[in-house]
Symmetry: C2
Subunit: 404 residues, 2 copies
């Protein structure tokens, strides 16, 4: 097992990383809406983006820039997604990387860019041009929180995580910020996660570690099954820890990946817990599936079912809905083999209500802000988990009124 | 085009069909909860059931009985689904078909059975045994409405439809009742549709007509993407119209199928309009897809997106969410070819907000109880439509509190 020492703060807990956030006037509320993360040392970079066929202009530009494998800055705005804005949107995104590059004296291709907010409206470029010099001036080794705030949209609180892990016998720091919810199944409010580390990591190795950590964290959360046009996860590795650069197949890379997964897992859970209108963070664990793929499919079907999610909201042990969601999933399910428990309290055995079940205790568990549903399909050795939240009236209120 | 003459009433608009509904005490509310449809003349029967891997005991028994291709009765109860009830559930369902068969003097295998309600609780068989003789006595040629009422759960109103169509030059009547919502993507509240006709139809032909009509009606509606363990659609054809029995490949069968589709389409739209918490019935039409399959996938992705559905609820022309839902669908989508209109008012052209768009007019259309969203993918000739409804706070209230 990897020893993870959790640290205060987020992305600026990493040596050599500066960050800042200012209010540029993109958000009508006047809140912070422009964030910058900067590594004065050129850093290895890797990124993954939304798989939605409709992609925002910043995603197109960042995909291009990330291909180089080196970056020194991440510029992120909130309030306007710069999606479905045509050629003008791409031009605007490029100009923002150019101005930022000029101000930081780095090539524009070393700047990754991301935006979240309303779709179909162009960015207020005048305001952004005016704010960028101020944003660069605001960069500081304590600026992580301000950056975390500046990327929020419907988030109710900023999300930060940082830890220290030993990698090949040497301590390295991994820290990050995030906003929004979901990844493979994310919210239109868009999901961002920006992580930095002082570890030295080989190029292909960093991309591989990122893909693996994303697969086991952000790809395992769901809020509403929708998928943004702007989702972006990026990692910068500036090498200041002066470890021997981590390579594919090495023990050090496995340790680093576990650390990355720890930070990103914590950020992913923070996203779900702050899901729009969410009141509970529920882990849906499936075991006994015929394969890991089946376990994911079964867990995802339960975690996404509106009927299960409304029952979680009402703390109603309506296990028939879980059976229904298992049955409609592509995973192999045999009714008379299914067992379901809430926390350590069994509810269903062999597809039937367990004799002597203590429903009061299950209702008590369902009243907690965080708990686990354990489903055993009784068919094989596949296991996996998905983090989800409940579906509340508040979710509908928020999304029925979110501005166009 | 087929001429459809709409008739008053539902399933008992069909000559030779009796129906009735009584309160057996399954529902705690004391409302009607046991329905019976009866054709004294042996009728051709065809049925389709849920594809959920978890199936209720009544579905298992009816699947067996429907295999014979002849039926004379459909017994349906509401308040308790008899699902996840083990061997006892199957025994109870069989006993109900046996008692009903004895009372009607028909073989038990000529009785189809269906149940909707809470999962995991056994049926109150004493009450049902006591009520069945009363139910058989209540059968009448005017009893269609009572049967429609007795199958309701969270439905706010009974659903009936009936029409007369010419089939091979001879008028036949098709009438039915329905409850619940959805089919391929139905609600756990379960979807039933029971249809009768006086047309004479060959066995294989009836099954084929039913599959085709279901595919173009109930398989084209969605409320929440969940799928019941009890969905049942059944049709009885008693042949009293004395037409030449309709055969595969004949013009008469095509006319009959169109009539069946008309009745089932009307019932399907009634289901969506009465979807839990729904305030609007929205038709999502997609054309210009590379194939019909792509058109269905794109329409379904839009129709199922919680973010689109909450925007429909708020009458908010948030077209970015429609773009997002198109982009995440498995259908091929090219951003700069997409056009979107609400009714006859264009909103998006070539993936961008249409110049001179009249948002006020679009908001006005979105305020209507029923309207169409027309999406043109601009790629091919595939077209299809899905009926959906909005997602309201009321949906969450209903499902957060529906009893276990």
């Amino acid at each position: 097992m990897l020893e993870v020492e959790w640290l205060e703060g987020g992305i600026t807990a990493v040596p050599g990383i500066l960050a800042g956030g200012v209010a540029a006037g993109i958000k009508p509320s006047g809140r912070k809406d422009l964030a910058l993360i900067h590594s004065p040392t050129p850093a290895r970079a890797a990124a993954v983006f939304t798989t939605n066929q409709i992609k925002g202009a910043p995603v197109l530009v960042s995909t291009e820039h990330a291909r180089g494998g080196v970056a020194q800055a991440i510029l992120a705005s909130s309030g306007c997604a710069n999606v479905c804005t045509g050629e003008r949107g791409v031009k605007d995104a490029r100009e923002m990387t150019r101005i930022t590059g000029d101000l930081l004296r780095i090539p524009p291709t070393h700047v990754l860019i991301a935006a979240t907010g309303v779709i179909g409206v162009p960015l207020p470029m005048d305001k952004i041009r005016a704010a960028l010099p101020r944003l660069v001036k605001a960069l500081s080794p304590q600026g992580g929180r301000a950056a975390a705030e500046a990327i929020m949209t419907t988030d109710t609180r900023p999300k930060e995580a940082a830890c220290r892990v030993e990698v090949g016998g040497r301590p390295v720091v991994i820290g990050g910020i995030a906003k929004g919810v979901g990844m493979l199944e994310p919210h239109l409010a868009t999901m961002f996660c920006f992580v930095a580390t002082d570890a030295a990591v080989e190029r292909g190795a960093l991309a591989r570690a990122l893909r693996r950590a994303v697969d086991r964290t952000f790809n395992r959360v769901t809020v509403d099954g929708d998928q943004s046009t702007s989702d972006t996860v990026a990692v910068l590795a500036n090498g200041l820890a002066e470890n021997r650069p981590l390579e594919k197949g090495g023990r050090g890379l496995r340790q680093f990946t576990a650390g990355l997964e720890a930070v990103m897992g914590r950020l992913a859970r923070l996203l779900v817990a702050d899901g729009e209108g969410a009141t509970k963070l529920v882990t849906v664990s499936v075991r006994g599936a015929v394969s890991r793929r089946d376990a994911v499919a079964a867990a995802r079907s339960v975690a996404n079912s509106p009927l299960v999610k409304t029952a979680l909201n009402g703390a109603d042990p309506n296990w028939g809905r879980i059976m229904m969601a298992l049955g409609k999933s592509p995973a192999r399910v045999e009714q008379d083999r299914v067992a379901i428990a809430f926390g350590d309290e069994g509810l269903v055995e062999r597809g039937l209500l367990r004799e002597g079940v203590r429903l009061d205790r299950i209702r008590e568990i369902m009243g907690r802000p965080e708990y686990e549903i354990v489903i055993d399909l009784g068919l094989g050795r596949g296991e996996e988990r998905i983090w989800t939240c409940d579906l509340s009236e508040e979710y509908v209120r928020i999304n029925g009124k979110y501005t166009t």
